[in-house]
């Protein structure tokens, strides 16, 4: 699915007790762009990711993906948006370790409408193969190495052919070699079909490959061109 | 209630026992019916909305010869038969026994888990507190007995123990 443009206007996300976690007065990201978000710990990078994915409701302002106003959607609509448009890669892979690589990669098929299930399963298998993993149905994910598990997580993010790929510190738990390989794979696969990629990362290898780098300091966007 | 009992007691065809030495007041006398050979005391049944009901009654043979009960009928049921309780391979059941002989001078107690008149094809539900008439055929006589309907789980007539 081709990438979507992101537009943010006057965004505020507050936490418990009204403390402001994130403020983004204005931000636009072109479709098909690979963006890296960086900043010190606790600066609000993950909050940004959770806000633009709709996991976290906004306190004020607007988030638009194309012509869809995410910030005005209710919970079920935001969940539907995520399942149809967003692929997510988490820091420590977060797999169902008792399922096979294939089971994890195609997990969306379990709750997708019937007519999409076969597509998700074949794309999941395809992505696993592209990432150098076989879709062995009998081997549970818990037996794979850390690098392999994170690649399974990437396959899962791409299986439903999303327009947007979001990644939260995808290489943080990996050694250098695996981190580099994952960074390459993620950048390349996310750019296939012109997807929009937003990755929160400290990894210089990913910064180097990004189209654009956004800095967040103390909950505020300090936009800087790549 | 009183009225119903009075009406019931005035509806007898055969000779209800208005014995002179009767110790109870007149409202209770419908608990007793008598033919020339048999006395029927405390006829009762149980509340039900089903198709079948059992009627229990104490029968006394006041003669010195065996008296046969050949049948019974009531307007509220399609059929009345005499049944006896029997254990069959561990389960109890009431089975038809045809004619019932009340031995000379004996008291026969038609009671739960023993003998009973079985009404089949009940035409109306039996309600606690109500009465119905039943006619027992014995040696060419027809004796009318008044059956009182007790609670669904009753084990005896509510007047059991009274000596009419």
């Amino acid at each position: 699915m081709a990438g979507l443009p992101l537009r943010i206007e006057g965004l505020t996300v507050s936490g418990e007790g009204g403390r402001t976690l994130l403020e983004v007065p204005e931000l636009s990201i072109e479709p098909g762009t690979a963006v890296v978000v960086r900043g010190p710990s606790g600066a609000g990078k993950s909050t940004f990711l959770y806000a633009v994915s709709g996991i976290l409701p906004v306190t004020a302002g607007r988030i638009l993906w194309g012509d869809q106003v995410l910030s005005e959607m209710n919970d079920p609509a935001r969940a539907a948006f995520r399942r149809n448009q967003v692929g997510f890669v988490f820091q420590d892979h977060l797999l169902f370790e008792e399922l096979s690589a294939f089971g994890n990669a195609s997990i969306a098929a379990l709750y997708a409408p019937k007519n999409r299930r076969a597509g998700i399963r074949s794309t999941g298998t395809e992505q696993l193969e592209k990432l150098g993993l076989s879709a062995d149905e009998h081997r549970i994910s818990g037996t794979y190495s850390g690098g392999e598990r994170q690649r399974i997580a990437v396959a899962r993010a791409l299986a439903a052919d999303p327009a947007i790929v979001l990644a939260d510190e995808p290489t943080a738990s990996l050694d250098r070699e695996n981190a580099d390989r994952l960074a390459d794979d993620l950048m390349q696969l996310a750019r296939d079909n012109g997807r929009t990629l937003i990755a929160v990362t400290h990894d210089p290898a990913m910064h180097a490959q990004a189209d654009r780098v956004i800095d967040i300091v103390d909950g505020r966007i300090q936009d800087s061109a790549a | 209630m009183k009225k119903a009992l009075l009406i019931a007691s005035t509806m007898f065809i055969t000779t209800p026992a208005f014995a002179d030495d009767h110790k109870h007041n007149e409202q209770e006398e419908h608990h007793l019916s008598e033919s020339s050979a048999l006395r029927f005391i405390h006829a009762w049944s149980r509340e039900t909305s089903g198709e079948e009901a059992l009627v229990f009654v104490e029968i006394e043979n006041t003669t010195d010869r065996d008296v046969m009960i050949t049948g019974a009928e009531t307007h509220i049921a399609a059929d009345v038969s005499v049944v006896g309780f029997q254990m069959q391979s561990g389960d109890g059941a009431y089975v038809p026994i045809g004619e019932l002989v009340v031995p000379a001078g004996a008291e026969m107690d038609l009671a739960p888990e023993a003998l009973a008149f079985k009404l089949s094809g009940l035409k109306e539900p039996l309600e606690h507190g109500a009465h119905f008439e039943m006619h027992v055929l014995s040696d060419g006589e027809e004796i009318e007995i008044d059956v009182e309907i007790e609670e669904a789980d009753a084990h005896q007539h509510s007047h059991a123990g009274h000596q009419h």
Binding site: I55, L110 | I97
Partner: protein, 436 residues
């Protein structure tokens, strides 16, 4: 509609009731799970929390098992005691407690009872409707086996045919029940009384030879030794029921003048109606006549009230256990909250996460209930074996509809209760869940 229902075979009615009781769970399952494939994730979650799942299943199984076992056991006991009384149509004894007389004459639980005299016995024996009249003269014993004096006709009535040997023909011969450790040809000397009160030497010199064995009947008579009633009288130094010119052939007719008495008499009439007629005749000032079946049915009716109480208690226990299991499940869903939050972060519909949590709870409940059913039947079977060994009353505990109905109702009720932890998982914050 009701008429149609009553016309159905009982098994079909029972099956339909079971299905009706299960319907809420089935409908709920169909609605909750519609459009989703929860199975792979369900098994993944169970595997992840395998020990906790086993503990929950075991808890449910034990509580359901107790309920099922109690009900099956009670029914087995009821049917077993009733079967043991099958051969005893009408018992005539001296007036007293019907239950004591029944326990003594049918179940051979010895007790001192007044005797029926020869005249009365003769009246019973000569009744035109009486087909079989036999004395049951208990009181002596050999080791644990009651020695009962009676007639060859009674032995035939009780055992139908012998598995070995022949009928006793003289005062020195005896027939052994299937569980008596004596074989044809063995000799024994009876004691006066039974159990601890037995006087071993009272009948010194009296010896019996076993001439036949009865088949297994599943009643206390399997442990009994049957001897001619003449012999019982004889060893007590009484007249033997026959006059001086007796030819030595045991059994009826007895002469009233020489009939010392018997504590109980078994009477079998030519029809059920006649048996009731005989009962009416011999229920008088001198004798009482009763149907063991009627006494049992009344006892069972009394037990029926206890049974209802037990069923209610069993259901309450099950519901309490389920409530604690559900409380446990709520904690368990906390353990699973990271996985459930992940699903929601990935965009799984809330209803899917709800369905997954619910099916997890119901999976444990169904497995637990099914294991409980098996456990209950096994426990009941073991207890039945113990009762049979102790009383010789064959108690068979089998699975029947009432237990299945209880379990079906239990599954439906708890699957409704399981909506609660499932609802609660929806209330948890995804972010908090993801951060574990």
């Amino acid at each position: 509609m009701m008429a149609f229902w009553y016309d159905l075979p009982v098994a079909v009615q029972d099956g339909l009731v079971g299905l009706m009781l299960l319907t809420p769970a089935i409908v709920l399952g169909a609605v909750v799970l519609r459009g989703f494939e929860t199975r792979p994730l369900l098994f993944a979650l169970v595997r992840q929390q395998v020990w906790l799942s086993i503990v929950f299943v075991a808890l449910i199984a034990v509580s359901v098992g107790i309920g099922v076992g109690l009900i099956a056991q009670e029914r087995g006991l009821r049917q077993g005691t009733a079967r043991a009384a099958d051969k005893f149509d009408l018992i005539v004894a001296a007036p007293g407690s019907e239950i004591t007389a029944m326990l003594a004459a049918v179940y051979l639980q010895a007790s001192d009872m007044p005797l029926i005299d020869g005249e009365t016995y003769h009246d019973i024996e000569s009744h035109p409707r009486a087909e079989l009249v036999a004395p049951i003269a208990f009181g002596d014993s050999w080791k644990d086996a009651p020695v009962v004096g009676t007639t060859p006709q009674f032995v035939v009535h009780l055992a139908e045919s012998l598995t070995e040997g022949r009928m006793f023909a003289s005062e020195e011969e005896a027939i052994a029940g299937a569980r008596v450790p004596l074989s044809v040809g063995d000799e024994f000397s009876p004691a006066h009384g039974v159990g601890g009160a037995a006087e071993e030497d009272a009948h010194r010199g009296a010896n019996y030879t076993i001439t036949g064995k009865m088949p297994l009947t599943g009643t206390p008579w399997d442990r009994a030794i049957l001897v001619p009633v003449e012999a019982v009288w004889g060893v007590h130094g009484l007249a033997v029921g026959h006059g001086p010119e007796w030819d030595g052939v045991v059994g009826p007719p007895f002469e009233p003048r020489y009939f010392p008495g018997t504590p109980a008499v078994l009477v079998r009439a030519d029809s059920l109606g006649s048996t009731y007629g005989l009962q009416a005749t011999f229920n008088n000032d001198e004798t009482m006549a009763f149907f063991p079946g009627t006494i049992l049915a009344r006892l069972h009716a009394l037990m029926g009230d206890v049974r209802q109480l037990m069923s209610v208690l069993a259901v309450i226990t099950q519901v309490l256990v389920t409530a604690s299991v559900l409380a446990g499940l709520m904690m368990l869903t906390k353990l699973l909250s990271r996985r459930l939050a992940l699903l929601r972060a990935l965009g799984a519909p809330g209803r899917f996460v709800f369905a997954l949590t619910w099916s997890y709870a119901v999976f444990l409940i169904v497995i637990g209930a099914a294991s409980g059913l098996t456990l209950g039947v096994l426990a009941s079977w073991a207890i039945s074996q113990a009762i049979t060994a102790r009383t010789d009353i064959l108690v068979q505990a089998t699975l029947d509809w009432p237990e299945i109905h209880i379990v079906a109702g239990f599954i439906s009720l708890t699957s409704i209760l399981a909506l609660l932890p499932a609802l609660l998982t929806m209330k948890r914050s995804v972010i908090a869940g993801l951060r574990g």
